[in-house]
């Protein structure tokens, strides 16, 4: 992500958590090991320092664009084995039926500002249909964090007003999430959320038409380590390159 290294160097708390997290194995079974690091980052002044850094950059350089930003979230760092993100979460507009959804990454979700967030979690990965009878409803308060497991938990967050959340997420375990109706707990739709997928498609289209031996080597690595969709796309592109050559 362009600009993220420079930003990490400028904010010492960010630099420290990146270095600490990159030392940890953050596979599915080990992800909870990051809890302590994440909580202390959440409770520090790091986010304000990052925002002040971004505003100074915007003030001093008219060409500057904040790294990793989209409309309601800012990727603070996209590391080798994790993604750290700040999110502005507003209450859902009145009249919208609440939905639960699964996540495609293991994620810690924590509250930065003083806004309480009501959380509802169902552990669907646990066993049979019994999960439907066991919602865990609680309030997440400033400085507190919740672990949501990809493919295991269904979650609904309801901020009481405009909440600032920090999330620490693993690399994608899945390419899609499933949304469920909060009242019937029936699945509504599966939604592709892995932002790499569209890029992957562009990359693979390019590789198919323009790739050479060096591209095939890099794609082989991607095929071994990427998410399922990335693996499939990389394998297809390698096949095209070989056929062409």
């Amino acid at each position: 992500m362009p600009g993220q290294t420079e930003r990490a160097k400028a904010v010492s708390a960010l630099q420290k958590i990146i270095a600490d997290l990159e030392d940890l194995p953050l596979d599915h079974e080990d992800f909870s090991q990051s809890a302590g690091l994440f909580t202390s980052f959440l409770r520090s002044a790091a986010l304000r320092e990052i925002i002040d850094y971004e505003l100074r950059k915007i003030r001093d350089d008219a060409h500057y664009q904040p790294a990793g930003s989209s409309k309601q979230q800012m990727t603070l760092h996209n590391g080798r084995n994790f993604v750290l993100t700040a999110i502005v979460a507003k209450p859902a507009p009145a009249g919208l039926p609440p939905k639960l959804q699964s996540l495609n990454r293991d994620s810690f979700i924590g509250v930065v500002n003083g806004v309480d967030v009501e959380t509802t979690v169902f552990r669907i990965g646990a066993a049979d249909d019994a999960w439907r009878d066991n919602p865990c409803v609680s309030f997440l308060r400033q400085g507190e964090a919740l672990l949501v497991r990809a493919g295991v938990d269904l979650v609904h967050l309801r901020p009481l007003s405009c909440a600032v959340l920090l999330t620490l997420a693993s690399q994608p375990r899945f390419d899609a999430v499933t949304e469920y109706a909060a009242d019937t707990l029936e699945p509504l739709r599966e939604r592709v959320v892995n932002p790499e997928l569209l890029w992957t498609r562009y990359m693979m289209e390019l590789a198919i038409h323009y790739g050479d031996a060096a591209s095939a080597g890099a794609l082989r690595n991607a095929a071994e380590r990427g998410s399922p969709a990335v693996c499939a796309a990389a394998a297809r592109a390698i096949e095209h390159i070989h056929c062409r050559e």
């Binding site: 904040p66 930003s69 930065v112 990359m203 038409h209 591209s215 690595n221």
Partner: protein, 298 residues
């Protein structure tokens, strides 16, 4: 109106991106459109288009990053890759892919590529077909008033429908050329040399409804990417944050960024909200004045 350009008829030797950017830095002036479509500039751009290895090199740089991080970034953003820079110029490759067949992906990818979205550009640029059959585009022109707001009527005049296949070169004027790309039949790539003039920094991109001949919205390129630090600042900022916001509100060239800064201050300092509104009502751009008049809506 957008120009079709004709390179020398004798085949020219291909040049590298570095050589081309050296030429751009030496010979072209971002403040002078004439220099961009002068014969020498057209000839050099044509030689760059004749280099078949440019996109492969950028692709391989990006693919080498994939095993380390699946977040494609580096020089890639949106549907383009940055190939080179010179003072006040950017060279980009843009990818034009037919959308996927699935309904959801089709809608998203059509939006992502901004197909069939009539728009102008805040900058003048040279463009050339590098690969594939290219997109078809419908081009209009207008007088290019930079102070339009959504809903304003615009005197758009039809100019042409044309295509950008491999080897074709065109020049688009900042602001006054309005075009909408149609979905290409096959994956295509174009190269753009973008001239970031001083005025380009202050201009929003304008989106139009060609049938109703009105402005539908205005946006900074990547405009929404600027908003999130200001939204976060409203929630977690302190007095020092307000100092930075005040400077941005007064000095930043982009009207939307100034608007975000004014809005953040008014929410962080509710006791001073009226003073902030009064200051924003004196801004030089109608976008900011409009935000202030509406009480800085979300």
């Amino acid at each position: 109106v957008a120009l079709t350009l004709y390179p020398p008829e004798t085949p020219q030797e291909a040049i590298t991106v570095d050589d081309y950017m050296d030429f751009v830095a030496r010979e072209l002036d971002a403040e002078d459109d004439d220099s961009l479509y002068a014969p020498q500039s057209v000839a050099q751009f044509s030689r760059l288009l004749a280099n078949p290895g440019i996109v492969t090199a950028a692709l391989n740089r990006e693919l080498a990053r994939l095993p380390r991080s699946l977040d494609l970034a580096g020089d890639f953003s949106g549907t383009s890759v940055l190939l080179g820079r010179a003072p006040s110029f950017l060279l980009r490759a843009n990818f034009w892919t037919p959308p996927s067949h699935s309904e959801e992906a089709y809608a998203f990818e059509t939006y992502f590529n901004q197909y069939q979205m009539p728009h102008n550009h805040r900058f003048s640029f040279l463009t050339g077909g590098y690969y594939g059959g290219g997109y078809e585009t419908i081009i209009y022109q207008y007088e290019g008033d930079e102070g339009y707001l959504p809903g304003d009527p615009v005197a758009l005049t039809f100019s042409q429908v044309t295509q950008l296949p491999k080897g074709k070169l065109m020049f688009y004027y900042a602001v006054r050329d309005v075009h909408a790309q149609r979905i290409p039949l096959d994956p295509s790539i174009s190269l753009n040399l973008v001239a970031i003039s001083k005025k380009a920094l202050e201009r929003p991109t304008v989106l139009f409804d060609l049938e109703k001949k009105i402005v539908t919205s205005i946006a900074l390129p990547q405009g929404r990417n600027y908003e999130i630090p200001f939204l976060l600042a409203e929630q977690v900022g302190d007095a020092r944050t307000v100092d930075a916001l005040e400077e941005i509100a007064v000095t930043h060239p982009h009207p939307m960024v100034r608007g975000y800064a004014f809005r953040a201050i008014s929410r962080m300092c509710p006791n001073d909200a009226q003073v902030v509104v009064q200051a924003a009502l004196k801004d030089r751009h109608p976008y900011v004045r409009d935000m202030a008049a509406c009480g800085f809506p979300a």
